[in-house]
């Protein structure tokens, strides 16, 4: 059973094709990510699914409902964290939760939710006094208050520091582990790779790839890399002789050994030790979604 079905979704603003024929299915109970650069059409897609925007073309079904025609019915059963929204500055956290709980036919006791999100001690704080991460967690609490079947998260971690971002990832996994379906958008490839069961890579309003992150990376056939800086001269030919190494590049002391074997790093270190080469800053690089994006679109993901 699919939680979300999107067939040939198009959304045009005048001549601008924000979303240009997007089709995908989101399975019940998975974390599905839509990843791509800013302006690729992620937010337009998610807001069409939430019923905030009316598609120019295409058929959408969320939990079997039409987001536009059956919006009120649907909103009882979904939770949404918007990319841009706010609350009255002077409203206190507990008042926010009481207020929003009252909007739904069925809502959960918000105290445990607040506890899970680490906001219990902020219960009496006014909205304006919360930090960016705390506001974001409060918005997640609001997205969970009606015990939704599908949770939409739009650019959840944008603007958060790395530590808060990691904490957020754990929260999202927790949501899935409670049996809910999560649809999220992000422009962080790392986030999509870490978090999502399946990822749709979107660029210029079209999906260029859709699969589990590991399969997407695997499909590249890209190699692992071992990178280090060598002090003094180094015989690159001896590195080329390492079993599993496919290619070696060296310039100005920086050496990169390419290979498919997972043991590559061990072999490189052993070869260097045997040759008594001093080296520093040795690290390994695995191909990631970033490389997938680069390979598919011919451009870097970074904004």
């Amino acid at each position: 059973m699919n939680a979300i079905v999107t067939e040939n979704l198009r959304k045009h603003y005048g001549d601008v094709r924000a979303v240009d024929g997007v089709s995908f299915e989101v399975r019940t109970g998975e974390i599905f990510g839509m990843v791509g650069p800013n302006g690729a059409g992620k937010t337009t897609t998610i807001e069409c699914l939430e019923g905030l925007r009316h598609p120019s073309e295409g058929r959408l079904a969320v939990l079997g409902l039409d987001p536009h025609g059956q919006g009120y019915e649907l909103r009882e059963r979904i939770g949404v964290q918007l990319q841009e929204s706010s609350l009255p500055d002077r409203l206190k956290v507990r008042e926010v939760l009481d207020l929003f709980a009252a909007f739904y036919r069925r809502s959960l006791d918000w105290r445990p939710i607040l506890g899970d999100l680490g906001l219990t001690d902020k219960m009496r704080a006014p909205f304006a006094k919360l930090s960016g991460g705390q506001k974001q967690r409060l918005f997640i609490a609001l997205a969970l208050i009606n015990d939704p079947e599908v949770v939409f998260l739009d650019e959840l971690t944008t603007g958060l520091d790395p530590q808060a971002r990691r904490a957020m990832w754990d929260l999202v996994k927790g949501i899935r582990d409670k049996g809910k379906t999560v649809f999220l958008t992000t422009h962080y490839m790392e986030e999509a790779e870490e978090l999502c069961d399946r990822v749709a890579i979107i660029d210029h309003g079209r999906i260029v790839a859709l699969d589990a992150p590991r399969n997407l990376i695997g499909s590249l056939g890209a190699e692992n890399r071992v990178v280090f800086f060598a002090d003094g001269d180094i015989n690159l030919a001896s590195l080329r002789a390492i079993p599993g190494a496919t290619r070696v590049e060296g310039s100005g002391g920086r050496v990169v050994v390419f290979g498919r074997d997972d043991d590559l790093v061990v072999r490189v270190v052993m070869a260097l030790a045997a040759a008594k080469v001093r080296f520093r800053d040795l690290r390994t690089e695995q191909p990631n979604l970033e490389d997938v994006f680069l390979a598919l679109t011919g451009k870097e993901m970074r904004d």
Partner: protein, 236 residues
């Protein structure tokens, strides 16, 4: 409601402004019966007039600014994504504004009574009904302004530009009797004038039967204002 009270400036303006104005003019003119006002004193005329002043300050400034800034900040968007209906949102808001405006009126009347012993010859129910009609009509216009303005700043400008001439030309702040004949002619076309006339009449014990024009105008403003503001209400 609680939120309203947490905005000290807005609360002051709604509840405290009219009584202060009353104290100011009361000190200058006192409340001696005056042939000019048909045997009533300045305060007897000012108290019902200032009710109109409270109504317009909430309707034309409080409501449009708060609604437009909530929309601008994305607060309304957050509401929209819940099953909450727009009508429920507006009714809840109007209720809270109505209560606040009523508190302002009560404060005004209490000051008028305690300090100046204002004379009241009408019926409380009747004055209350007139107040309710006037405030709902102007609240509807306030939501219309909020819907028409794209930002809080524009809502504020429209509200001010519309409100200030009305405040001074309608007899709400300065009794019409004091104003020149030409101004009084203009006043007839200002909706707020009808609130002032109605409130003063009901306050002095004149029946609704002699205020059918005012009732009809305000009723019309209410119906048209509601229809248009519902049509133009925007969540974002």
């Amino acid at each position: 409601m609680k939120l309203y009270l947490r905005e000290p400036a807005a609360t002051f303006f709604t509840i405290g402004f009219a009584p202060m104005l009353l104290l100011l003019f009361g000190t200058i003119y006192g409340n001696k019966p005056n042939a000019f006002f048909g045997g009533r004193g300045t305060i007897d005329v000012s108290v019902p007039s200032y009710i109109a002043l409270i109504i317009i300050s909430v309707g034309f400034m409080g409501i449009p600014i708060a609604t437009a800034s909530n929309r601008e900040a994305g607060v309304l968007r957050r509401f929209r994504i819940t099953p909450l209906r727009p009508s429920a949102y507006i009714i809840a808001n109007i209720t809270s504004y109505y209560v606040m405006t009523a508190l302002g009126v009560v404060a005004l009347v209490v000051v008028g009574k305690v300090v100046y012993g204002v004379r009241f010859q009408g019926s409380v129910v009747s004055v209350w009904a007139g107040f309710t009609l006037g405030s709902l009509a102007f609240f509807a216009l306030g939501y219309l302004i909020a819907g028409a303005a794209s930002t809080a700043r524009i809502a504020q400008s429209i509200g001010m530009i519309a409100a200030f001439p009305m405040m001074f030309l309608s007899g709400a702040s300065i009794p019409l009797e004091v104003l020149p004949q030409s101004v009084r002619k203009i006043a007839a076309f200002i909706p707020l004038t009808h609130v002032v006339t109605l409130m003063r009449g009901l306050w002095a014990g004149v029946g609704w039967g002699r205020h059918l024009t005012e009732a009809a105008v305000l009723g019309g403003v209410l119906v048209v204002g509601m229809a248009l503001s519902a049509r133009f209400f925007r969540w974002e």
